[in-house]
């Protein structure tokens, strides 16, 4: 197929192009969507309490 030795290689070839197209189309369609920066809910390092008992 298309000069390739087996079917797996052209499938990979097409899926490469398809995956790149998926990234472009998804990014373009969701260009203005997305959550904003949340404010940290974690306390300052010095105030952290780690419970290391496992």
């Amino acid at each position: 197929m298309f000069g390739f030795g087996d079917l797996w290689v052209p499938i990979a070839y097409i899926l490469c192009l398809g995956s790149a197209a998926l990234c472009v189309i998804y990014g373009w369609r969701h260009w203005n969507e997305g959550d904003d920066m949340p404010s940290p809910v974690h306390p300052a390092d010095e105030d952290l309490e780690f419970d290391e008992e496992v």
Binding site: V9, S19, G34, D35, P40, D51
Partner: protein, 541 residues
Amino acid sequence: MNLQILTIVVTAYILAVAYLGWLGYRKTKSAADYLVGGRQIHPTLMALAYGSTFISTSAIVGFGGAAALFGLGLLWLTMLNIFVGIFIAFVVFGRPTRRIGAELDAHTFPELLGRRFNSRFIQGFAGGTIALLMPLYAAAVLIGGARFVEVQLKLDYQVAVFVFAVVVACYVFFGGLKGVIYTDAFQGSLMFLGMAVLLVSTYWQVGGVGAHQALTDLASKVPPSLQAAGHQGWTAMPVFGSPLWWQLVSTIVLGVGIGVLAQPQLSVRFMTVKSGRELNRALVPGGIFILMMTGVAFVVGALTNLYFFQHEGKISLAMVVDSATKKPNIDKIIPEYIGHAMPAWFGYVFMLTLLAAAMSTLSGQFHAIGTSIGRDLYQQAIARGKHQERTVPFAKIGIFVAFVLSIVLCFKLDVGVVAIATALFFGMCAACFLPAYVSALFWKRATRAGVIMGMIAGLVVWGLWVLLFHEKESAALGLCLRIFGQTSVVSGTRWTVVDPIVVALPISSLVTVIGSLATKPDVKPRARVAAADEERELVAK
């Protein structure tokens, strides 16, 4: 090569990189700037930085050379690189990584895991693992770049390695992540240009799309030893289940294709943008960039066989037999091809492309190793969160350590090791970090104990498999031979070619799940994240 033109081109390139590194240095005012670029990076810069860090000389020289050996079956890796490494990584992993990273004020990948599960041990363990094993990957990248300079400029290999490493260490040392991202974006643009020219000129050299048929017709020239191992030509996959099939599918395609999701130097890029919108926008340049990098390198790598056969009467492997070891060195195939097939001016362009690929990946690696040592190991695990002001100085010491370790490894590693060393590191990241990372982002029932058990199990199984089972490494390391008197404890079986990731990742995933279900749920600080989630949902309503 014309030395005058070369000097001008390289000087201009180094000046541009130095200027961008200086710009990063000037804009770095705080530890957050140094560690996560102040969380305000533009999406295109982030995408180019992510892509150029992801794609290194390993991908172009090492895996391009591997494509000359295995053939176009390597395009399955390109597919995974784009679909998993970009689409899944940005859409599924990127958003929660950025959100939780900001909520927990995490500055590094190990810190994200550590704070999510309220454990300095997790942060220190992940940081220590990165600091210990990432130099192997950094060395692979350095070797790839230095081999090209060695072939192209006839420069001494050791000098090339040293100069490379010094330049990169300098701008990472001073510019922090801002310097890294600015230079990465510039280098990513150069890489795109170089690979576009390489693709067009290669197809033009070997006769256009009809070259696929000519390459298929060359299958009879595959060396008998490779045919016996399952090779069926450069336009077909190896025989299903054969040693070559296992090496291609388990080590190269799965190891790198899946391992990319838990790469510390890549995951931290998601924490550099200010909102989820930036991640959507970054998908567009990200997808195209990776297609142009690995897709072109693998297609060109396979086609080099046709080019060399048409012009020299030999396949690529026969062109790069190492005079000392008498073995073919696949890391030299792409440089040899550029030297033979391309005009001199393209040699300059491609040299910059590879310099850019090596330096952009190396800078991300040096930064990740440095922050692992300074932030995760020292400031959080050893100093117990005190001495915040020492994070950056210790990260800089870590960068110096990374520099020294990588150079030492460059001189110790065997020839033709670039693709394998890269795949090994990616596999280790998947086995050790991926279950913990997935649990941190998506599984509320995951517990600290379960995650710790999973990480340790992943690393131990991966290490044992490398040392005792996977013959390619166990034979080279020699421990198995000393203890058991043979190069692998499963010598003579198919298990010797099964990559560590195939065994270690399922085991670490299973241990994480069972360990979490068997222990009491944690309450802090995930409770804070859950409260923030609820608050956001209320606001949305």
